[in-house]
Amino acid sequence: MSLDTLHVEQVVQGIKSREFSIEEYISQIFERIEKVEPKINALVTLNKEEGLNRARRLDKKIREGKQSGPLAGVAFSIKDNICTKGMKTTCASKMLESYVPAYDATVIKRLMTADAIIIGKANLDEFAMGSTTEFSRYGPTRNPWDISRVSGGSSGGSAASVAALECTASLGSDTGGSVRCPASFCSAVGLKPTYGLVSRFGLVSYANSLEQIGPVGRTVSDVVSVLNVIAGSDENDHTTTTNDSKPTYLLKERNGLRVGLVTEFIKGADSAVSKVIYKAVDTLEKQDCNCEEVSLPSVQYALASYYTIATAEASSNLARYDNIRYGFDMNPEGYEWNSYFARARSNFGEEAKRRIIVGSYVLSSGYYGKYYMKAHQARSLLKHEMENLFQRYDVLIGPTMPILPFKIGERIDDPLKMYLVDIDTVVANLTGMPAISVPAGFAESLPVGLQIIADQFAEQTLLDVAYSFEQAAKVQRSPDL
């Protein structure tokens, strides 16, 4: 049996009922990795030895009849900007080339308590800044559906490894669409939770007021299983909500909901993409959902607001990388401190440098009111508009990406052109609302994702619609690799 094609609950059940051992399953996973990894380059670090050891330990635990966690044995890839104690965490940057964290991120602690297994660290755009994983020091991650094309980003490695069956689920991070974009491009399910639902302790900060760690899986069910383990308040993160210390989400269908198709999103998409989305609308209507086109005028400010806030926060978050306490090998003796800092930091990639400069620009003396404050006003406007819409609709939908996955190298020399692909996804980060991308179908043999957005902390509604759609649409899951 191809254990690498199983979903989370199937793995958990299979192990519980002794259909196969964890070691068997993990071994198959590593075989699969060996086979496809040279083609897609989704993983930065492999955790083979420890992964197999842990598998054996867990098998023993289960044989002895001891209690095991809800994700016992499940193979995860972890985006390489999430801290894993004892395992290199590079953020795909030279600046963290030899960095081994002294602590586990909260989400990792929770996965470990649930008895999950980490098979490796997933590739990303450097410091999560990008939409294609082309800005990685380790080379781009290729789309498993067409390896001449991008996998999306910045969590390209997470989505590609899941789509290519190198793992059963993954954790990525989403600042402006970084979980949903690659999920859409790779035909996977990717969720950005409500801001504050999942702890960011241990997530290397890019833009702290916008980002969340999110699960990636092949099905909505996978995403629900993982969310139930990682969600909930954390005393180590002041921005997590204290309302619900351990929320639980159910996997269920729900029909007859009110759905709003955002005009600005659908009209801004390529026709190949919008065709698939309109078909998705039909599918939803067949589920008794009432779909209407609705306008969200403030979308016109969304990208400008996003890039102002994200670059501003990034310019400050990346300041700590001066190579003094951690980083890469460069002897400080012989340097005067300003020169050392500047020389060490010249090892950031282009996109990272650009964002640091833009961020410093928008925060610089005299510009605070013009950019940063206005960007926050735009956030407010957008939020009020969407909250109003959520009085009339249960969810808002649209294409996750306005275009199909493009060729590697196509947009890399035009930063602004690259930024424009985020137009549909940044809205959810700016407002802190939850959003998910589910496979909607294919156009020109390339994946198209449907994005569903709900009001803050309305994850259950979001997941209900996603699941209902998924069950009705029945989109193929795995590429031929």
């Binding site: 900007n81 999430i82 801290c83 965490t89 953020c91 963290l96 960095y99 964290p101 002294a102 602590y103 991120a105 960011r200 302790f201 241990g202 997530l203 290397v204 900060s205 833009a207 702290n208 007021s209 005393e235 180590n236 993160d237 002041h238 921005t239 501003a312 926060e313 310019s315 400050s316 300041a319 700590r320 990388y321 001066d322 003094i324 306490r325 951690y326 400080p332 003796e333 012989g334 401190w337 300003n338 800092f341 410093s360 925060l363 610089s364 003396s365 605070y368 940063y372 404050m373």
Partner: protein
């Protein structure tokens, strides 16, 4: 001669040594004496992925300071990032507070009366974190080929107090700083005797000229010196019609001068913005009353209480509350034996002179430690002494003698008194005999005494001599006067 108007403003940094953990992490805030980089964690070392966790107690303490300085507390407070690079800054930004866009610091617009009818306005009070420490390998910045960095202090909580430029001479500044010290000590938020726990930067302008900032003053004691030097420097320049430049100067403690900072080629820009990882902290409507309730008694209130409850004079009360240790000593002593005026007197006169004597000896080393260090006297000793005097067991002269010994050896005054057999003779028969002997010996004086009452003291002296000072002078004098009338 035209008076040259001097304007001085202060920026005081006070470590909250009274809290147990750092401002944004759980590391101990007590870093002194620890081996380098042994008092750190991923948060204060600025490791990737870490988030600041605001210490509740620091907000309480900072609020107490704000209230004590008459400030207004906002309903919500926020933290800002001050972005700049420096090797002692683990994140290359400092978490602090900032009021340019909205009032978000813990206190604003306060006022403190530091001399009678002289107020200094407090612009703001804010919380911020201390950076790490740089040490130079060769002991000197200019000759070290590398710098050594210790992050133990990074993240220790500081309260910054900024005043308006309301001071017109260094003496006023000194008095203000004394008052601040007294308040901080009474609030128990900072132990000002610890090295580096309180620092003060100053800014000064002369005759409407440009303002000069003076940094790197390491103790309150040096502030006056630095200011005097700088004012002289500015006045000299003004008298020679040279314009004083607006700049930041460093106080060189070794040479006792202010020095120009090395010129920077570019202009710094801190790019302040609100810290996204710390939400706005809502203090709540009950907050101010909660703080007021749990705050230790402020020195001024304590002085008022000493005057009303214990009948101390304004002058004596002022001296006692001038130092919290002294005031605590006083209250402990009267708890043992309730004789406030007597005890206060002993403290303010004799005890203080012992303290001053010892302090003078140590001036060279400028060590700041407990007021009573080196003296073996505690509140129970003074209480005991006061009781002996009140009950007429010893006279004042003897009491002073005993105190001197107690301070050196720590022996209880009543034990010493017994040893010295200093208990007065109040046996009437013994005293009558003594008086009779003197009357017999000093017949001429006795005649004089019948006319001039003052001479009775001469006779008293003679009786004291015979009894070797052990007679109770009060009783003896009564006897002498009675006897004079009789014959």
């Amino acid at each position: 001669m035209t008076t040259i108007a001097t304007k001085i403003g202060l920026e005081i940094h006070c470590q909250l040594t009274g809290v147990k953990s750092k401002l944004f992490c759980r590391c101990s805030s007590d870093y002194r004496g620890k081996a380098p980089n042994t008092n750190i964690c991923p948060i204060c070392a600025g490791l990737p992925g870490t988030l600041p966790l605001l210490n509740k107690k620091t907000v309480e303490f900072a609020a107490m300071i704000s209230l004590a300085l008459g400030c207004k507390l906002p309903d919500e407070i926020a933290f800002y990032r001050k972005n700049y690079f420096y090797p002692d800054l683990p994140k290359n930004f400092q978490l602090t507070q900032y009021n340019a866009y909205n009032i978000t610091s813990i206190g604003v617009n306060g006022k403190l009366e530091y001399i009678s009818s002289k107020d200094a306005r407090i612009r703001r009070v804010q919380l911020e974190e201390d950076p790490g420490r740089l040490v130079y390998a060769s002991g000197n910045m200019d000759t070290s080929v590398y710098v050594l960095i210790d992050y133990n202090r990074a993240g220790v909580p500081l309260v910054e107090i900024v005043t308006e430029p309301d001071f017109i001479d260094p003496k006023e500044v000194r008095m203000f700083l004394d008052k601040i010290t007294s308040i901080i000590e009474h609030l128990e938020v900072c132990d000002t005797k610890l090295e580096g726990s309180v620092r003060c930067d100053a800014n000064v302008s002369v005759d409407g000229g440009n303002k000069v900032e003076i940094k790197n003053i390491s103790s309150f004691a040096d502030v006056e010196k630095a200011l005097r030097y700088e004012i002289t420097r500015q006045r000299t320049m003004t008298s020679r019609e040279i314009q004083v430049r607006s700049e930041t100067r460093h106080w060189d403690d070794a040479r006792k001068v202010t020095k120009e900072s090395r010129t920077k080629e570019e202009e710094q820009d801190y790019r302040y913005f609100p810290e996204p990882d710390i939400p706005m902290v809502v203090l709540g409507s009950e907050f101010v009353s909660f703080i007021k309730q749990s705050m230790p008694e402020l020195p001024d209130k304590r002085k008022e209480r000493f005057m009303s409850d214990y009948g101390l004079s304004d002058h004596i009360a002022k001296v006692i509350i001038g130092n919290k240790e002294l005031a605590d000593f006083f209250e402990s002593a009267i708890a043992v034996y309730l004789s406030p005026k007597e005890i206060a007197n002993w403290i303010v006169t004799d005890l203080m002179s012992f303290i001053d004597e010892r302090t003078k000896k140590e001036e060279e080393e400028e060590k700041e430690h407990s007021l009573f260090a080196g003296l073996k006297v505690g509140p129970e000793h003074i209480a005991d002494l006061a009781r002996l005097v009140d009950q007429n067991m010893i006279n004042r002269a003897t009491a002073k003698q005993i105190l001197g010994q107690t301070v050196r050896t720590g022996e209880m005054p009543s034990a010493l008194a017994k040893k010295m057999q200093a208990n007065r003779i109040d046996d009437v028969s013994v005293l009558t005999q003594a008086v009779q002997s003197v009357f017999d010996m000093e017949q001429a004086a006795v005649q004089d005494a019948r006319v001039n009452t003052n001479v009775a003291n001469f006779l008293l002296g003679k009786v004291m001599k015979i009894t070797k000072g052990k007679a109770d002078p009060k009783i003896v004098l009564e006897m002498i006067q009675k006897k004079l009338k009789e014959d």
